[in-house]
Symmetry: C2
Subunit: 593 residues, 2 copies
């Protein structure tokens, strides 16, 4: 049975030693003293490791079952959901007026990582609710907020997002679901939506579907799409539940993973819906939540890498197989533990350096979201908007790869479901796909974000790297050589790639788009390189200041050195690919494939 | 429902244009005229696409079921197995005296790829039988051969390989299964074996288990291991089946994939076994088949990449989503097909250039095995022994990655089991693990094969690359720049890595072993680079000679250019990692992970 232990110490290190949250002038951050964040993280850690983690395999094995229109979630899910609700976790970063605790988003992210590591499929029920509630919060009328938010913030009612239809996913302009205006101001929604996570289940009294549809007579394409609130049960004026609405689950999908979450085909058959936000501007309403949602998916990728790594590490320490070639390490035993072997170390260091680097990256991104939303900081908003496709695409690709590496440490046992390592890979796999497949993230990055506001945000990113290097260079020759020089080189590669796009994208946009995926990955490496440089600096400072936990900070430095030496140089390969342009990528006629 | 079409044209190109099999002086190769190989490949192609491929999803969905000691294979498997047997496919490359067709191994490999692409789990039943039969052929007494081979070559009886025990996989010296000598020369085998593919099933009259065990009083460790034949049913002198032997399936494992193959725990409870080969030399008997078995697993990796690619290509042509940024391609339709998008092209070209390069690599490796076995060519034997861990490790890692890329082309539909793309990834995953996990392959390559016979074989490989470049340079500036120069650079990287190992492995073997995995991958890239250079040359020659199928050969050249430009440069990254040695890999104390 796999285990999960919340990495609270590492989170505290990132929040306080690296990001120094209380020193940031973001509204609400002054409350984030180390004792306070520690109390929250420890509490969440306990819940996730003791309650949610043991249900992870159960969710995978039992899955969700549809019988007579009712979806039954796996045994134990409903009881655990009640515990989560009682603890007030779903509303951690929601406004107090709707029953939330009004904490910064960065705390929601830290806690969210734990939830997701412990049980990704389970956590999606509240994650989707959070997303739907955020949309109502941002675009709803006061009446809509009052009707839905208190229940959704408490997760008494859960939420869903209905975008995809059988023939359209990325290209939502092809959408066919219709909304027919009624005399009372409501709409009749008709159509079929697919891949609706948590579309139907038995854990809440009501389900509030947010549905994209086209109002009769709306403009063609994406500009004619509006967003609607469609409750499963109608809500009476006094807040009590009324009749069942004309929305029903058609089937639940058999998926590769996240079996504990019900992925539904939803049929809308003249269901009553209420316009959320402006008519024909449904995509805008969706996009305002996009940065948060995509950061959340990037976090899922790293969360699975983290928990898979924890278990791979345990196995590598326990399993006796072969001998250390440099000298027996376990003379009393019949063999040495796997962890003595350099290739096992390589794999574990890949996983560890990724998970810790990615955690810092996501938490940093969350502070940018807080700065943008709570602090009205437009530069932070622009920067996180630029980084969002990197967080989503790079961290889910790499996170997935790390679960594969963790599984590999187990040898044959990794392939047997009983050991739980297969589930981490199968669950992590979806994060590369949903909320915009990673190829679409790369397109968003290179096709939109790079040039946004005249390239202002990418320049700001480069300045940030440059000034970090400048401020910290020349104090310690080792730190310069091991951290700052590799970061400088990688950042230079990234700039060269941007330059290539500018110069050659003019001739044909395909010259840029053929390199978009590589660019997303090299950008991700530079971000993790920056994070490791910052973490390295923080660790050095702590050691220089005489910190007592020497081993922790030394380990940080060593893990950072590994990332800088072994992972960051990937930027050169990505750059060399990018610089070959579209010629070989687009050379074949379709018929000749 | 996914489809499979056998790539017979590409196989013919490799066999005749590239490898020029009939011109090689290997016994039996003179028969491999193009008409002859075409007839066989077309026939196998028909069987695999029409009979085996449709059963692939069935096998995954139904899996194998154990009831009262009997394992039921998925519906249709037994009937298909009869068809395969009637066609004589299992004995294709087996000696005529035991009912085989005595064809070269290279033909078995080409046909094997088709079988494996169409239905990997199904094909394992005959694959394991082939392996067990080969062991008996190589090490059995005449009586043993006469008893078992005719039935096994026909697959009336199937075979298994029993190595792993719960506490030992790679490190077989820890083995506990015992063999107690009996007065009649037989042994009583007792112990538990796990992960036994095709250990029990309902498709054959008898199952011949090859079991590693320690004879009472044998030396400790790996040097005390012997190999035994343990039939499920005892075989009477007249060849008829006698009593049930004391071997039984304990359970079948729930696995991530290859559900159609029964992976069994086998309990031996004083079962009667017969020594195969010499006492205490069981590992040697196993190792003589290792090159073939590992080449076969490498082939499984590429075979899943091939079939996944075929389906991803279909989907990319069919699915309408978005518009070509350089101009609408499908004005009549609501959107353009996915294949217009550069990032989809990149993914498809990665898959295509890998599958075709890997196919050439495997077929070339098979000719080396034929040269070694049929032609008694010691140099070929040494070379294929060197290349075996590369074929196994690199092709299964990359093959798996390609199935993930193929799945990604489908977006959300790739995650739904109904579309079949998940199965290819789940089935392909095992190939990275069994027959020696890929980390063990890397260890074998760097720790044993590089220095074997004084480094003679790796030098021969470099000479082969060098002389190919020398012989072909200076005839066509484009070919030089697009094919030969990149190959030269990659080969130079590989040599530099080998040099690093020699110089720094002296200080500590960990300096070499920390780079073993990267070395295996860079070696693989150089091999595929060599294959693409050879295929490019063959395509150029055909075009210069006025071949009628211009599009085919032009496509070959374009696909090769893609590999050379976009994939081969990965060697530089691997080299840079290798040259950082063990310092960062081994820096952490175990307690500080």
């Amino acid at each position: 049975m796999p285990r999960y232990t919340a990495p609270t110490k590492d989170m505290q290190f990132v929040l306080h030693d690296v990001l120094k949250v209380t020193e940031q002038s973001i509204p609400g951050y002054d409350e984030l003293e180390a004792d306070f964040t520690s109390a929250i993280l420890e509490e969440a850690g306990k819940l996730t490791s003791e309650v949610l983690a043991p249900l992870n395999v159960v969710g995978d094995t039992e899955g969700c079952v549809l019988e007579n229109g009712v979806v039954r979630t796996p045994a134990g899910f409903k009881a655990a959901f009640e515990q989560v609700k009682e603890g007030g976790w779903p509303g951690l970063d929601m406004p107090e007026e709707y029953g939330g605790q009004n904490m910064p988003y960065v705390m929601g992210t830290a806690v969210g990582e734990m939830f997701s590591s412990a049980n990704m499929a389970f956590t999606m029920y509240q994650g989707l609710t959070h997303g739907a509630a955020s949309a109502i919060l941002a675009h709803g009328t006061d009446a809509q907020k009052d009707t839905y938010l208190p229940k959704m913030v408490a997760c008494d009612w859960t939420g869903t997002m209905n975008l995809t239809e059988p023939h359209c996913g990325t290209d939502l302009g092809l959408m066919r679901t219709k909304a027919e205006p009624q005399d009372d101001g409501s709409y009749k929604i008709s159509g079929q939506k697919i891949f609706i996570s948590a579309g139907e289940h038995d854990m809440s009294d009501n389900i509030i579907h947010l549905v994209l549809a086209k109002i009769t007579g709306a403009p063609d394409g994406i500009k004619g799409v509006s967003l609607f609130i469609v409750p499963k049960f109608m809500v009476n004026e006094d807040g009590s539940l009324g009749e069942r609405n004309a929305v029903a689950v058609g089937k639940i999908e058999e998926k590769m993973g996240i079996h504990g979450n019900s992925t539904c085909v939803m049929n809308y058959d003249g269901a009553t819906g209420y316009l959320l936000g402006e008519a024909h501007k449904g995509m805008r309403a969706m996009f305002t939540m996009m940065n948060e949602a995509r950061l959340g998916v990037g976090m899922q990728g790293m969360s699975q890498a983290e928990v898979a790594y924890q278990n791979a590490l345990d196995y590598a320490k326990d399993r006796l197989q072969g001998r250390d070639v440099t000298g027996v390490k376990n003379p009393e035993g019949p063999a040495d533990p796997l962890i003595v072997h350099p290739d096992i170390r390589r794999s574990l260091m890949d996983q560890k350096s990724f998970a810790e680097g990615a955690r810092a990256f996501i938490l940093w991104g969350s502070t940018l979201i807080d700065a943008a939303h709570r602090g009205q900081d437009k530069d932070a908003d622009g920067l996180v908007s630029l980084l969002t496709p990197v967080i989503k695409g790079f961290l889910t690709d790499q996170g997935y790869d790390m679960t594969i590496k963790a599984q590999q440490v187990y040898g044959g046992h990794g392939y047997i479901e009983e050991w739980g390592m297969s589930q981490y890979t199968r669950d992590a796999r979806i994060a590369m796909i949903y909320e915009g497949a990673n190829g679409v993230q790369a397109l968003d990055l290179v096709g939109r974000k790079l040039a946004q506001d005249g390239g202002k945000h990418v320049m700001a990113f480069f300045d940030l790297v440059k000034s970090f290097i400048k401020e910290n260079a020349g104090q310690d020759a080792d730190f310069d050589a091991q951290f700052l020089e590799p970061l400088k080189a990688a950042s230079k590669d990234l700039q060269a790639a941007g330059m290539y796009f500018m110069q050659n994208g003019m001739k044909s946009p395909n010259n840029a788009l053929s390199g978009s995926y590589d660019f997303m990955h090299m950008f991700g490496h530079v971000c993790l390189g920056l994070m490791w440089a910052k973490m390295g600096k923080a660790a050095r400072t702590a050691l220089n200041d005489g910190a007592s936990d020497v081993a922790f900070y030394e380990t940080k430095l060593n893990t950072g050195r590994y990332y800088m030496a072994r992972q960051l140089p990937a930027t050169a390969l990505h750059l060399s690919r990018i610089q070959t342009g579209a010629d070989t990528v687009m050379a074949l006629e379709v018929a000749n494939f």
